[in-house]
Amino acid sequence: MDEQKSKSSAQKAIESYIEHEKIVHGIVKMGQFHGLDVEATDKNSSQGDIRVAKDDHDQLLGLIDKTIKKNRGKKFSG
């Protein structure tokens, strides 16, 4: 039983890491596809995970909102 709990905790940590990675890549890919100046950061001391041109920031957030809204709509409509 203990072993099962331990495995699920480790799995949770790994899944959390994978989800983080997928979100970063998904957003960068989405932004670049729409011609925005956006990329993943690559320094361990970095402030953030995604670097975006100031002029493109609002557009990137708008794209995220639009995409999530569309995909949540799909999910609920089956």
Partner: protein, 186 residues
């Protein structure tokens, strides 16, 4: 145009986001936050006051990802050390190194615990997930030291600059500090 004038940085967070996390984010100078988990009410208030834009409960499957490309950029997680209910230092770890750390024997055997922030503290009543470092402090330190040896051999053989050994030394220092009792992932 200087970098800082042309670009801003966005933080991606994979767990629940608390008031403490919000204060730390402001110190880091991040402009917006995309959170996989929930952002607590108090954290939202702090972010609003600091004019930081945020989105919560974002899931990767809602971002139209057709394929995952791996260039080792953007793969990161933050170790947040806690001294009881006070926060200590945090360390950002990226790429392959993180994969090696989460697969260590001591982390694979670690139990995640959900605890409620006690009365009298900021955000009392909120639940957070964290790991008890005290149970595995020296075993985890041993695993990190093994990884450090491997990284030092790699750097020596490649004869080049690499920051992984320094990150592992910093992590080791935090793990061995008896003031630190727990840690979270962010």
């Amino acid at each position: 145009m200087p970098y800082e004038n042309k670009y801003i940085e966005v933080k991606v967070w994979s767990a629940k986001f608390t008031a403490y996390d919000a204060k730390k984010l402001i110190e880091q100078g991040v402009s917006s936050l995309l959170c996989h988990g929930r952002i607590t009410g108090k954290a939202q208030k702090i972010l609003n006051e600091a004019d930081i834009q945020y989105r919560e409960n974002i899931s990767s499957d809602e971002l139209e990802i057709d394929e995952l490309y791996h260039d080792e950029k953007g793969e990161s997680m933050e170790f947040l050390f806690m001294k009881g209910w006070d926060y200590g230092n945090s360390i950002v770890i990226r790429s392959q190194l993180l994969k090696d750390i989460v697969k260590t024997r001591s982390l694979l055997g670690l139990k995640n615990i959900t605890e409620t922030i006690p009365e009298g503290l900021e955000e009392a009543g909120e639940e957070i997930d964290r790991f008890d470092l005290r149970e595995i402090r020296y075993q985890l330190a041993e695993d990190i030291a093994t990884l450090l040896t491997g990284q030092l051999k790699y750097v020596t053989q490649q004869n080049g600059h690499h920051d992984n050994p320094q990150i592992l030394v910093t992590l080791l220092q935090e793990i061995l500090s008896e003031e630190n009792t727990h840690f979270r992932f962010g």
